[in-house]
């Protein structure tokens, strides 16, 4: 592992290295946008085809965990931004603390998600696993509700997977920051992982209303 500020071999200057890493993360995030876009497109088309069933199905998802999770994630973006700030101004003691805060909030998010998934399990709303929307539902309603929940699990699941990866990155970041690796001259990993974390947050900001807030007043 290269130490603080050391130039990787393929670069000519530290500035070039920093720019490159940053551009790399932005390009990567654009691929993620396209990745989620396919899923969002599928969701949007299906929702406009089966608006009533989607509305009904959405209402069976408890609102408060989703809302709480939204607050949690936004808070975690705040703590992440604060970590980036700490690394930029050289506050080497604060940096790990903000990272830990972000990690905790991320874990809380995943915990609440697990609780929601459990709810769905109990209600037989997990597609492919004894799925039954409600007693007495006819075949078409069941099929369309299963479509909603497939998309629900697909979208939130993919998002959660990205959170888990993000948590792993945060742990790495934490370890490196405890070693004093990040300075005002070299904090690129903090910035770029921060970008990633904010992106995952933004995906949730779209997911939440689409999935939880259909037709709720």
């Amino acid at each position: 592992m290269h130490r603080t500020g050391e130039l990787y071999e393929q670069y000519r200057t530290l500035e070039q290295q920093r720019e490159t890493a940053s551009l790399g993360m932005w390009v990567f995030l654009s691929t993620e946008v396209l990745f989620f876009a396919g899923l969002f497109m599928t969701y949007t088309l299906n929702r406009s085809t089966y608006p009533d069933v989607f509305s009904e199905a959405s209402k069976t998802i408890k609102l408060w965990p989703g809302a709480l999770n939204t607050v949690v994630l936004i808070a975690s973006s705040l703590t992440m931004a604060l970590s980036v700030w700490a690394s930029q101004v050289g506050k080497k003691k604060l940096l790990p603390l903000f990272l830990i805060a972000t990690l905790i909030l991320g874990t809380v998010f995943l915990g609440i998600k697990a609780y929601e998934y459990h709810d769905k399990y109990v209600e037989h709303h997990i597609p492919g696993w004894n799925f039954n929307f409600e007693p007495g539902a006819d075949a078409a309603t069941n099929a369309h509700a299963q479509l909603f929940f497939s998309l629900y699990f697909g979208m939130t699941g993919l998002h959660a997977l990205h959170m888990i990866v993000g948590a792993g990155l945060l742990i790495w970041l934490l370890r490196e920051s405890l070693r004093g690796r990040f300075t005002p001259e070299y904090n690129t990993p903090v910035e770029n992982i921060g970008l990633y974390w904010h992106f995952v947050d933004i995906v949730w900001i779209f997911l939440f209303p689409l999935l939880y807030l259909i037709d709720r007043h």
């Binding site: 696993w129 078409a140 479509l147 998309l151």
Partner: protein, 555 residues
């Protein structure tokens, strides 16, 4: 071939091939040149696999009732041929082999922006490949490479899930390569290497990489959904559960159409390098060729539903996509005109790479022009899903992309290996390839217009004569492929030493030894010259005295 006084060329003492030894130094390398060779080995492997299936297909089709295999097996053959060739050979070939090797050197850099991610790309490719090979060997795959639902997600009894997972995983290899290339071109250029001094091969790779990063994620999610549908009986694309099979087609083709531009743009980039070198003059219309690559990449994202003209899509949609499909043809035409014009008043040599480049122009011309037939709504009704389509895309993908790849391999072989291939044998192979190819695929245009459907394990007897012609051509084509594999391998050991610039050519890659040292350049070059500028390169040792100075037209 070199005009310098006949000093016998010597291999440099230390270069990227012998800098370190041992299997770990290859499997854990981050040197873009070694990674390129790792890819060369793996794409060649998949080419053999896809080629073996193609051979069986052509033999089987000698007889109207099918000569070789059962319909079940035949359906697996054409599917696996498509999957292996498209995802594991064509799409990676030029970018991952030639692009990886050359991009950093062409822009004066020591390596790509993210060398470790480059290695990761290769491993991801391998893992995807393993899944697909697993699918091939345990039940095979019989859905067509297009995986249309609900056939693939519900009805097929073949090993769809591992195949779909394999292609999904492989997609990330493409995405990371594209990401690497884009960032590299933006931030790693040597001083003085401005955008408009970039070799056209680099422009082509850049345009291709845009498609890699924006298109591939969509097929990734699409195949993931189809795989989940199959595994858990979900209903995204299954009408019995409220889903829409046409949605699958839209999502699938949103990537898969731009994917064909992934396959051809790099080859066009190769041609744009070869022709100036062997005509010894600048490319005609540099900025138009560069711009047309970007135009193809962009417009290419807006034509996907021309694969769906007979699905019952709305007439308005069909009209729009047909019009856009005609628009996307124009930049390709611009390239062909510019390449041809480059030959005018050139000083043309008949070296093998030039033969491949000219063969490319001829075959791509036919392939591209026949695209105009298919973009035509009234004609497409009749031609859709017939052998006309098969002939069209093989002319472009094989006659175009593969010839570009093989031509590029020949052109840069001296740089990659430090050795020259045997020239006369290579010319014979190039001509064999060209003739064999035409005999294989031209009859298929006629078969298509007569109505013979594609993906047919048996056919009405009146189609037999043309099928036999096609198979005869295929046997010649196969020879055209085997020959280079043999003599290129032979040349690695026994070939004449090439020297740094055998042709000679003007790019930065020809200013380093052959093979290059691991860090590519002893000293970072500083670029002060325009590309393909034979007139102002005294270091090439050419005779520019006789060439009349011409008023330079538009650049």
């Amino acid at each position: 071939m070199s005009a310098t006084p006949a000093a016998v060329n010597q291999m440099p003492r230390e270069h990227y091939l012998n800098a370190t030894y041992g299997i770990r130094s290859w499997l854990l390398t981050t040197d873009h040149k070694r990674i390129a060779l790792l890819y060369l080995a793996s794409v060649t492997f998949f080419f053999f696999i896809g080629g073996a299936f193609a051979t069986m297909i052509r033999i089987h089709l000698l007889s109207p009732k099918g000569l070789l295999v059962t319909p079940e097996t035949y359906n697996k053959l054409f599917t696996m041929h498509g999957v292996a060739m498209i995802f594991f050979f064509l799409i990676p070939s030029i970018p991952a082999v030639l692009g990886n090797f050359l991009l950093p050197i062409m822009i004066g850099a020591k390596d790509l922006a993210f060398p470790k991610i480059n290695l990761l790309s290769w491993y991801i490719y391998l893992i995807g490949g393993c899944f697909v090979l697993y699918s091939f060997s345990t039940g095979g795959l019989d859905t067509g490479w297009t995986f249309y639902t609900p056939l693939s997600s519900v009805y097929s009894n073949s090993a769809v899930t591992p195949a779909v997972l394999g292609v999904f995983i492989n997609g990330f290899s493409s995405i990371l390569t594209g990401l690497n290339f884009i960032v590299t071109v933006h931030t790693m250029r040597a001083p003085g290497m401005t955008w408009f001094r970039l070799p056209l091969f680099v422009w082509a790779q850049y345009a291709t990489s845009i498609i890699f990063i924006l298109g591939t994620p969509v097929i990734a999610i699409t195949l993931l959904l189809a795989g989940l549908e199959r595994m858990f009986h979900l209903g995204f694309f299954n009408p019995a559960l409220g889903g829409d099979p046409i949605l699958f087609q839209h999502l699938f083709w949103f990537y898969s159409h731009p994917a064909v531009y992934i396959m051809i743009l790099p080859a066009m980039g190769v041609i744009s390098e070869i022709i100036p070198t062997f005509a010894r003059k600048p490319i005609f219309g540099y900025s138009f060729i560069a711009g047309s690559s970007i135009a193809i990449a962009v417009i290419g994202f807006f034509v996907w539903a021309h694969h769906m003209f007979v699905t019952g899509e709305s007439t308005y949609a069909a009209l729009t996509f047909s019009l856009l499909s005609y628009l996307v043809a124009i930049p390709s035409a611009v390239k062909v005109f510019n390449w041809t014009s480059t030959l005018y008043k050139g000083s043309i040599s008949y070296d093998t790479p030039m033969l491949y480049a000219l063969g490319f122009i001829g075959l791509f011309l036919i392939g591209g022009l026949t695209g105009l037939f298919l973009a035509c709504l009234g004609l497409d009704i009749h031609l859709h899903d017939t052998y006309f389509v098969i002939a069209h895309f093989h002319y472009i993908m094989v006659g175009g992309a593969v010839m570009g790849y093989v031509g590029g391999l020949h052109y840069w072989w001296p740089k990659i290996t430090g050795k020259l291939y045997p020239e006369y044998l290579a010319r014979i192979a190039a001509i064999t390839l060209f003739l064999g190819f035409n005999l294989t695929f031209f009859p298929q245009f006629i078969l298509g217009y007569l109505g013979m459907p594609r993906r047919y394990a048996s056919y009405p007897p009146e189609f037999q004569v043309l099928n036999v012609m096609s198979t005869a051509g295929a046997s010649i084509l196969a020879l055209g492929y085997l020959l280079p594999m043999i003599y290129l391998t032979w040349s690695m050991r026994y070939g004449e030493v090439a020297g740094p610039n055998p042709w000679p050519a003007t790019g930065l890659e020809w200013r380093t030894p052959s093979p290059p040292p691991t860090e590519n350049f002893e000293v970072t070059p500083e670029v002060t010259w325009e590309p393909y500028d034979y007139d102002n390169r005294p270091d090439l040792g050419l005779d520019v005295s006789g060439a009349p100075a011409l008023a330079h037209g538009d650049d």
